[in-house]
Each structure stands twice: as structure tokens, then as C-alpha cells.
């Protein structure tokens, strides 16, 4: 199992713990990651399609040269790369135009996958369960998927857009409790943070409130933008609303890594802004 790894800008910076835990978990599961040489930004939520499609297409062309499919852990990158891929694959005239723009020769032979999809569907839950060294009893997690990993479903494709299951199944495979959660696919508000902070924080608060009401001690995420809203912005939400939250938000790779017996440092768990120490103690990890 070998993929062109597209970390995206955030995993090379503020989401470094997602990058670390992705690499560690993939190593353990026998997924070979070759970082895509000289990749560029996909355009993220900021760039309009007119710009982000050619930007994304340059990355697709790079992967095609390597003869590898792309894996992206960030849901925004996954969305942007998949959308560009779909558009150039389905329309030859458009592909020509984009190739002209990027001065490249992309033929449309690359697949774009989210890391969660590969772990759950290619590695498979059976192998993961067998690899679990330390079942995470004491972790009561809610599975938070967010938007772009499931929507629009004609682009995201790999799970149900209303009631996805892959993250639920993965959490269960780690031995943690996966609590019922009605905010699975709600929006974290990340796209509005810079432009309309009060709305963005209210949206994130709803996700957190839902998790706390269910008695969760951990929210599991699949995207660095969601993580920003739920982890980095958590203290901001606390002070704005005058409340105490103290709910760690873990990347699914961090949770899985713990179950596979990987170390706290290796998984970058000391880099989350909301320290997960109480959670780690509850599963007897110092």
C-alpha cells in the first residue's frame, strides 16, 4: 500500500500533530507514504474555484508522474483536490484548458482519497482490531466528521452524507466507547472565523455542547480546520461565553495511535492546545 502523501499547508505548520500522528500510524499499519515532491497549496477555503482548480491540478499532475494515488488527511485539501479531479476527468475540453494553465499534461489517472477512507476501507477494521495493543477503555468519544469529508457526496463519495459510519467504526475498533452524536456532520464554522468570528464560535460551541451533553470526554476530528475551531478556539469560546469546557479534541490518528501502542510524543499529543492529560490518565497513560 503506497500513496503520494499530500499534507497540505496546515499539516506543515499549525496542525503538525496531525502530520506526526498520520506518519506514525501509517508506518505502523504498513501504509507507505511518499510525500508529494514540491506540492503546492490547494487553494483551501480562501481561493475561488477559478484559482483553486488549476492550483489543485498541478498537484494531481505531480502525483500522476509518480504513478501514485493521493492521500490527504485534511478534509479541505481532500475536497479541493477531488473537486478539481472530478471536473478535469469529466470534461476533456476543460482538462485541456487546465493543462494549458498549469503548463502540464494531466491525463486524469490519479485517485484522491481521504486518509480515514484508506485506514477504514483499505487497511480494514479487522486488521486494526488485531493491531490494538491497548484498548482505550475509559474514552467516551463522539465522532465528528464535519462538512467536506462527506459533502457534497458526489465529490466526497466514500461515506453516507447524513449518517456516516467510518469514524464510528474506527473508534469502536480502538476499544473506546463511541457515543451517539447528532452533530456528526454539522459545520464547525471554520470558514467564517476570520470574517464573522461571533457566528463561527457559536457554531463551534454547538458542536462542543452536543458532545458534552452526551457525556463525552473526547471529541474525535478528521480535519485541521475543525480542529482549529474545537481545540485552538476552545479557550476563546470559554471566555466569550463565560463557561468552562475542557474537552480535548483529538485527531483520529492520535486516538488510533494510542490504541496501537504508539507514544504520546510520537503522536504529538503534547501539541494539542487543550491538554488531553486527564483523558490519558483515565486510560492509564502518563
Amino acid at each position: 500500500m503506497k500513496f503520494a502523501y499530500y499534507p497540505g499547508c496546515y499539516l506543515h505548520g499549525s496542525a503538525v500533530e496531525y502530520d506526526m500522528s498520520t506518519r506514525a500510524v501509517c508506518r505502523k499499519l504498513g501504509i507507505e507514504l511518499i510525500e508529494l515532491d514540491d506540492w503546492n497549496c490547494c487553494g483551501a477555503v480562501e481561493a475561488r474555484d477559478s484559482l483553486s482548480i488549476p492550483l489543485s491540478a498541478r498537484n494531481l499532475a505531480l502525483a500522476e508522474k509518480e504513478g501514485l494515488d493521493i492521500v490527504a488527511p485534511c478534509s479541505v485539501c481532500f475536497h479541493k483536490l477531488s473537486k478539481a479531479n472530478k471536473m478535469v476527468k469529466e470534461d476533456e475540453k476543460f482538462r485541456k484548458k487546465i493543462n494549458e494553465t498549469i503548463d502540464g499534461q494531466y491525463q486524469g489517472r490519479v485517485g484522491v482519497r481521504h486518509l480515514l477512507d484508506i485506514i477504514v476501507n483499505d487497511v480494514g477494521l479487522e486488521r486494526i482490531s488485531k493491531g490494538v495493543k491497548a484498548p482505550l477503555e475509559g474514552v467516551n468519544a463522539v465522532p465528528y466528521y464535519g462538512c467536506l469529508i462527506v459533502r457534497p457526496s458526489e465529490i466526497a463519495k466514500f461515506d453516507d452524507p447524513e449518517d456516516p459510519q467510518s469514524l464510528d467504526d474506527l473508534i469502536k475498533a480502538t476499544g473506546a466507547e463511541c457515543l451517539p452524536y447528532s452533530h456528526k456532520v454539522s459545520c464547525c464554522g471554520g470558514g467564517l472565523l476570520a470574517n464573522k468570528e461571533d457566528f463561527a464560535l457559536e457554531m463551534a460551541k454547538k458542536i462542543i455542547d452536543g458532545a458534552k451533553e452526551g457525556g463525552s470526554n473526547c471529541i474525535v476530528v478528521t480535519c485541521p480546520l475543525c480542529h482549529t475551531m474545537l481545540d485552538f478556539q476552545q479557550s476563546n469560546i470559554e471566555s466569550r461565553y463565560g463557561i468552562t469546557i475542557d474537552l480535548p479534541a483529538l485527531y483520529f490518528t492520535q486516538l488510533l495511535g494510542l490504541a496501537l501502542g504508539l507514544g504520546v510524543k510520537e503522536l504529538g499529543l503534547d501539541k494539542n492546545m487543550v491538554a488531553p492529560m486527564k483523558l490519558l490518565e483515565s486510560i492509564c497513560i502518563e
Binding site: 499547508c9 496546515y10 506543515h12 505548520g13 499549525s14 496542525a15 503538525v16 500533530e17 514540491d38 506540492w39 503546492n40 497549496c41 487553494g43 483551501a44 477555503v45 480562501e46 481561493a47 475561488r48 474555484d49 477559478s50 484559482l51 488549476p54 492550483l55 498541478r58 494549458e100 494553465t101 498549469i102 503548463d103 502540464g104 462538512c147 467536506l148 459533502r151 457534497p152 457526496s153 452524507p161 454539522s186 459545520c187 464554522g189 471554520g190 470558514g191 467564517l192 476570520a194 470574517n195 464573522k196 468570528e197 457566528f199 463561527a200 457559536e202 457554531m203 485552538f232 479557550s235 503534547d270 501539541k271 492546545m273
Partner: protein, 193 residues
């Protein structure tokens, strides 16, 4: 109280402009309201109503739509898109509307009541320069634009914690393929005109 729409003030070509800017399916809408009831931003503020924005656009109320602060509040969550029974692609329609607003704003025809285009412009400029996002520069600009110098001061402690945790690079990562990136920006910008 709502004012009557004066037909002399409307622009019947607005809908065609939207179609051209990426909102091809705007006229497929049969006004069921599913988009509005799916929208998380609407849940917070009743003033934000994706169906209403589209109706106004179809009626040709170009100036009202483009100069409203409301059109910039879509979080691009695609909930409306997913639920629409008519495949209208509302997220793309709304995006097309903001694209037109940006263009008209640049030409001085309307005044844009949102920071969004400027914030996105800062992002794009960094990609143009390095091929990847230089986060710390982006964050500083974001905070300065949205909260001013005092805002920047009060977010300094967070910045310091991030730095200590190794989550902030102090130098940009410039890619090798900058010629290609430059070409992409050049062509995209020429097409906009």
C-alpha cells in the same frame, strides 16, 4: 416594512451573469425552502436566508444583493447543496454572486460591506509568492485586518504557545515550481477581466 421593488431599478441580466460566473442552475429552483432550513448560519441569524438571496437575484435586484453584507456569510458547508431536491448547487450560486460582487467592487460600482475579499486576497498573495501558505504572516494580517493592533496584541500569548509547541514556522516554504504558480495566477487573473 419592506419597500416595493421598483422595476426600473432591477437588472434582468443579473441572472445570466450569475449563470456565467458558476451558478448555472439557479433557475432550476422551485422554492421549496429546504436550503434555508438546512443552513447553520440561518440558525444563528434569521437575516441570512439563502433562498431569499436567490429570489432577489432572479428578480434582478442586483444592487441590493451585491451591496449587502449578508451574501458574505455563507460558511460553504454544502448542507443546502446536499439537500436541494433540484440540484441547484446553491453553494456555487452564492459563490458566483460573491464573485460578481468582488468584480463590481473593484470597478467601483458598489461598496463591499465585508472584509472577506480582502482577507482572501491576503491568502492568495501568499500563495502567489511562495506556492504554499506562510501561516504566521497570514494570521498576523487576519488579526490586524479584523481586530486591529490591540487584537494582535491580545493574541500574542496564543501565538507564543503555538511557537513553543513547534506549530509555527518562522520562515516561509517556497516551492521549486514557482514558474508554474506564476503562470497560473497570470492566466486566472487575465480571464477575470
Amino acid at each position: 416594512m419592506t419597500e416595493a421593488i421598483r422595476l426600473t431599478d432591477t437588472d434582468p441580466r443579473f441572472v445570466d451573469e450569475i449563470k456565467e460566473a458558476g451558478g448555472e442552475n439557479i433557475l432550476m429552483c422551485y422554492q421549496c425552502g429546504t436550503c434555508t432550513s438546512s443552513c447553520p448560519v440561518r440558525e444563528i441569524d434569521e437575516r441570512y436566508d439563502p433562498l431569499k438571496i436567490m429570489r432577489m437575484a432572479v428578480l434582478g435586484m442586483k444592487k441590493e444583493v451585491l451591496s449587502s453584507d449578508i451574501i458574505w456569510l455563507c460558511s460553504r458547508c454544502y448542507a443546502c447543496h446536499e439537500h436541494c431536491p433540484q440540484g441547484v448547487g446553491i453553494t456555487e450560486v452564492l459563490h458566483a454572486i460573491t464573485n460578481i460582487a468582488e468584480r463590481e467592487g473593484k470597478e467601483g460600482n458598489i461598496k463591499i460591506k465585508s472584509l472577506k475579499p480582502r482577507l482572501d486576497g491576503v491568502f492568495n498573495d501568499l500563495i502567489r509568492k511562495y506556492g504554499r501558505l506562510f501561516e504566521i504572516k497570514f494570521f498576523v494580517h487576519l488579526v490586524l485586518l479584523s481586530k486591529g493592533a490591540t487584537g494582535l496584541l491580545s493574541s500574542a500569548p496564543d501565538g507564543f504557545v503555538m511557537f513553543r509547541k513547534g506549530k509555527l514556522r518562522l520562515l516561509p516554504q517556497k516551492i521549486k515550481g514557482m514558474k508554474q504558480i506564476g503562470r497560473i495566477f497570470k492566466i486566472v487573473e487575465a480571464n477575470k477581466k
